[in-house]
Amino acid sequence: MGAKRRAKELLIHIFFLVVGASGIIVLTLILLFLIMEGLPVFDTVSVRAFLFGTMWYPTHYPPDFGILALIAGSASVVVLSSLLAIPLGIGSAIYLAEIAHPKVRAVIKPTIELIEGLPTVVIGFFGMIVVAPFLQETFGLTTGLNLFNASVMLAFMAVPTIASISEDAIYGVPAHMKEGSMALGATHWETIARVILPASLTGISTAVILGISRAIGETMVVLMVAGGAAIIPESIFDPVRPMPANIAAEMGNAPFRSDHYHALFAIGLVLFVFTFVFNMIAAHLAQKHKQVGAASL
């Protein structure tokens, strides 16, 4: 009887071990299929020409598969949206954790979590029909669908991520550190700037990196509002074509297993590598200095 019971327990243990591997299996499959469908493009174009070529004309004859302009598109929207979202996100986090009345915090904190769930297609839609005409008129542009518009909408999307994880980190700073600083005569702001923020820096960095990583991979917003021109931008009001937008816009028209099809998977692979690196950095930071709540990943 004891042996039978032990055997059953062992079987159940093995079952959960297998189910528990599902996440890693899916990740491996994703990487495997990106490689399998992406690498054949390098039979037609060299890795160097692919990554550093500035011409993206996949349907011309002969076609050009240079994705530098797409990488530049992604990089420019990510940098500009970070410049907007990081101060706003961290500012909101400080406000919630340190300044806001507990009752205000109790309302705003769940509201932020609620916004994190907004469908990105609706955010893109708003950017198209409200922000774009506004920009076009205010600045006298030929099109309001551009780098700046996409960055603003991405920032709107990234602020809740940055704010809620940073807030967890700031809120998790032990009370005695804050009390010690105040007891030494520091003002509340001096305590925040010199004690609390340095103490929660790793958690805040995790938040920022995860926010940026989301912005790199976000598809619908840049597909709808970035303008779609595969050029290296020279001004913040130039239209751009970030990598996810390019994949989403062209996959439907690329003939199965054509060079174009393989090139789009190769772009997916580049995107995968970018976000993978960012997530590893975030995970490393989070582990190095364990924080409470969502910042612990």
């Binding site: 990740l27 994703i30 469908p119 991979g217």
Partner: protein, 288 residues
């Protein structure tokens, strides 16, 4: 001198707090403008007919019933995939696994899975489910792709629910002679279930709002027939908004339809999120 130093520091603090408050106000204003615009424009477009009828005249008139049905199917299908796998993974990580090397790899995998861009899930779904497993563009392929997409979220919230079960409950059960599995099944799981339901609702809401993973795996512009099996393609609300707003021949004419669909989708997604947050807050209060 000392006095003026203190005063200066007070002024600095005042200035810093003003800047921080301004940051919060910018966020709140942006959110209010966004929600108000979609709500006001959307409400005038929504009627009983809009919600219950199919599109007419090449999608320039009529309603969005097939899109609602498609989104609900995909949302249910994806959670049917992700919930068992997610809960199972969480049970493994929290109840069985120690802190060995394999567990670190599994956790690393989940963290990275959560960061994979949604359009890459779309590519994966196309190459693996649609083409390699020959499912075609279908509810099944879309549900599996979305299921993979929401898996990390379901794992995260299920683990949180399991962690909240006091260690003493497990020890008491084991001390009474119950096996590991009996303890999990009869003691830990029932206690953690309400928390896991939060993850289930959040996962469904996330799947309902996503566009990129279903673009090449499940969704179509228009389909004359309602789907009759999981091997059929479907219309879905997020894709419907995208297509009407960008690819239609009469973008201006279908504006009301776009607003109406956007509001319906937002109401569905935010409603589910709100339900999940309320359940979680009640659970937290009960524990305190």
């Amino acid at each position: 001198m000392e006095f003026s130093g203190t005063k200066r520091r007070k002024i600095v603090q005042h200035a810093a707090f003003t800047v921080i408050r301004a940051a919060v106000y910018i966020n709140v204003c942006a959110l209010i403008v966004f929600l108000a615009f979609i709500a006001v424009q959307g409400i005038s477009a929504i009627s009983w007919e809009f919600l219950t009828q199919a599109p007419r005249r090449s999608m320039t008139e009529g309603g969005i019933w097939p899109c609602i049905v498609g989104t609900v199917y995909l949302s249910i299908g994806s959670i049917a995939v992700a919930f068992p796998l997610g809960v199972g993974t969480a049970i493994y990580l929290n109840e069985y696994a120690g802190s060995g090397r394999w567990v670190r790899i599994v956790r690393m995998g989940i963290v990275n899975l959560a960061g994979v861009p949604s359009v890459v899930y779309g590519l994966f779904g196309l190459a693996f489910f649609v083409i390699w497993l020959k499912m075609g563009v279908s509810i099944l392929a879309g549900s599996l792709t979305l299921g993979a997409f929401i898996l990390p979220l379901v794992i995260g919230s299920s683990e949180e629910a399991l962690r909240a079960v006091p260690q003493a409950n497990r020890e008491a059960s084991l001390a009474l002679g119950a096996t590991r599995w009996q303890t999990i099944y009869r003691v830990v799981f029932p206690e953690a279930l309400p928390g896991m339901i939060t993850g289930l609702i959040l996962g469904m809401s996330r799947a309902a709002g996503e566009t990129a993973p279903i673009m090449f795996t499940a969704a179509v512009f228009f389909s004359r027939e309602m789907p009759s099996s999981i091997f059929d393609e479907v219309m879905a609300m997020p894709y419907h908004i995208y297509v009407l707003a960008t690819a239609g021949t009469e973008i201006e004419k279908t504006r009301p339809l776009q607003y109406g669909t956007a509001l319906t989708l937002m109401a569905l997604v935010l409603g589910m999120n709100l339900a999940a947050i309320l359940i979680r807050n009640r659970l937290q209060k009960k524990r305190l």
